[in-house]
Amino acid sequence: MKRLLPNLLRLAALLVLIAFLVQPALFEPLLKPLVQANAPAVYNQGSLLSLTLSHLATVFAATLAATVVAVGLAILVTRPIGAEFLPLSRSLVNIGQTFPPVAVLALAVPAVGFGEKPTLIALFLYGLLPIFENAMTGLSTLPPAVTEAARGTGMTAWQRLTRVELPLALPVILAGIRLSVVISLATATIGSTVAAKTLGEVIIAGLQSNNLAFVLQGGLVVAVLAVLIYDGFSALERVLSRRAGRV
C-alpha cells in the first residue's frame, strides 16, 4: 500500500501526457501566458504525437541494438575464451564514457550524413557503455556457490549461461539498460540539430523563435517520458531480483 500514492501520481502523469499529445489544443490556456501576444502557444509545425513516437522509436531501435551487442560482448569477455579481452574492455568502457554525446553525434555526421542515422549511431555507441558495464559486472560477480552448484549438477557451459548466469544477472543488466534509455531519451533531442525527427525539433523551434512555450512543452514531454520509463524499469528490476533471490 506504501506505493499507492506514487503509482497514482505516475498514472496521472501518463494520462496528462497522453491527453497533451493527442489534444494539445486543450492545454493552450496554460501555455498562453508564456508567449508574446501573437505567437502560437502549442507547437504548430508538425504533430507532437508523431514526433514523440519517432523519438521513442529512435531511442528504442538504438537501445535494442546496443543491448544485443553489449550483452553479447559482456558474455564473450566473461567466458574463458574471451578472458584476454577483459582488461581492455574495462578500460574501453572508461574511455568511451568520456566522449561527450554531442561530439559523438557531430563526428557521426561526416561518416553517414544528416538525418536519423547519425543520431542512431550516437545513441547506439553511447548506450553501449552502461549496458556493457552492468552486464559485465552482473556476469562476473555471481555467487561462486551458485555457479559451482550448476557445474556440479552436470550442466553444460551453455546451460549454465542461459539457465543460471543470465537470469541471475538480469536485474543488473536491466539497470544498465535503464540508465542507457534515460540518457538516450535526453540525448536524442540533440539529434534534431542534425535534422533527426525527435522532440528536439520542438525545443529548437522554441529557441530559434524565442518561444518559451515550445521549449517547455518539448522538454517536459521528454522529461515525463524519461521519468515514467525509468520507474517502469525500476519496478521490473524489483520483480526480477525478488525472483532471482538477489534482493
Binding site: 508564456l34 574471451g82 584476454e84 579481452f85 582488461p87 581492455l88 574495462r90 578500460s91 574501453l92 572508461n94 574511455i95 564514457q97 568520456t98 566522449f99 561527450p100 554525446p101 554531442v102 561530439a103 557531430a106 563526428l107 555526421v109 561526416p110 534515460v182 531519451l185 535526453a186 540525448t187 533531442t189 540533440i190 540539430t193 542534425v194 522532440l199 528536439g200 525545443i203 529548437i204 522554441g206 529557441l207 524565442n210 518559451l212 521549449v215 517547455l216 518539448g218 522538454g219 517536459l220 521528454v222 522529461a223 524519461a226 521519468v227 525509468y230
Partner: protein
Amino acid sequence: MTFRIDKLGVVIAALLAYGAFLAPFANFRANRIVPGEARGILEALPAGLGAALLGFAVIAIVVVVLKTPTVFRLLLGLAALLALAILVGLSAGHLTPPENTYARVSPASGFWLLSFAFALLTADALARLRLSPLARVALLAAVAAAAAGLLVSGAWDGLSILKEYGSRADSFWLEAGRHVVLALGSLVAATLVGLPLGILCHRVEALRAGVLNVLNIIQTIPSIALFGLLIAPLGWIAVHVPGAAALGIRGIGAAPAFIALFLYSLLPVVANTVVGLAGVPRDANDAARGIGMTDGQRLFRVELPLAFPVILTGIRIVLVQNIGLATIAALIGGGGFGVFVFQGIGQTAMDLVLLGAVPTVALAFAAAIVLDAATELSNRKPGRAA
C-alpha cells in the same frame, strides 16, 4: 620455440591490415565544402615514406599477433601513434599543390583505423601493466606535450582542421576559455552547494529522499530544454533586479548555461556525498565519539576524510559530464567549443565540427584520467586526503 597467438592481437592485426592496405589514408578536397577524393598510403605520402609505413604495418601485424612482452607492445603502440601523427602532417604538405590556399587535406578512414588499432594496443598494454596513478598522469602529460610540440612546430599546419583554426585563432581561445569557465565554474559552484546539502541529507533522513528525487528529475530534462527554460527567468531578473544586468546576468548567453550545468552537477555531488558518508564504518564514528570529539570535529576529521574518495568519484562524473554538456551552451549563445560544432554542422563544414569536437573530447579525456588518478591516490591514504 613455440609461438603463441594473442587473441586481441588478431583483432588489432585485422584492423591494421584493412587500414593500411584497403582504406584511404587521406582525403583531398579542392575547397572546404566539396566532397573529398580518397588517397591511399602510397599516393598520400612522399615516395619512400609510404612504402616505409606499409612495411612498418606488416611488421606491427606480426608483432601484435604473437604473444610479445607487454612493455614492448606499449612502446610499439606509442611509437606508431607518434609516427602516424607526423606522417599525416607530411601527407598534407605532399598532397596540397603549391600556392593553393583553398585545397583541404584531412585524415581519412585508413588513418583513423590505424590510429584506433594502435590506440587499442596501447590501451590494452596500459591496462595489463596496471600503472600507478602518478605514472598514468605522467604519461598523459607526455602525450599532451608531444601533441603540443607537433602543433607548435607546424607539422600539422597543412591539415584542414588547423586551417579552420588558422582562420579563427582568436575566437578559438576565447571559446576555449569560456568552455573551461563554464565546465569548471559550475563544478565549483555545485561542490560548494552540493557538499553541505549532501551532509545535511545524511544527517536529516527526512530530507534525503525528497532532495534526491528532485535532483533525479532535473537530470531527466534534456539539456537543450533546461538551457532554454532558464532564459525567461534570467531575462526577467536582468530587467527587474537592479544590478543583475551589470553582473552579466542576461536571458541568453553564459548565465543560463552556467545555471543549467550547475543544476545537472548537483545530483552526482549530493548523491555521492550521501553514499560516502553512509559508508563510513560505525566503529570509526563510535571511536571518534568515544574520544570526545564534537559533531563538527567528527565530520571534518573522520567522516569527510573517509568519504572523500566517493565524493571525488562524484566530482569526476560531474567534470566529465560538464565538459561534454558545455558544448550545448552554444545553442543559447553561451559560447564554448559548441560554437564551432554547431557552426560546422550548419555549414556542413566537417573540419569546423572537428575543431570543436576534438578539443572537447581531449579535455574530457584528460579530466577523467587526472581525476581517476586522484581518486585512486585518495583511496590509498584516506587519512591524508582531508
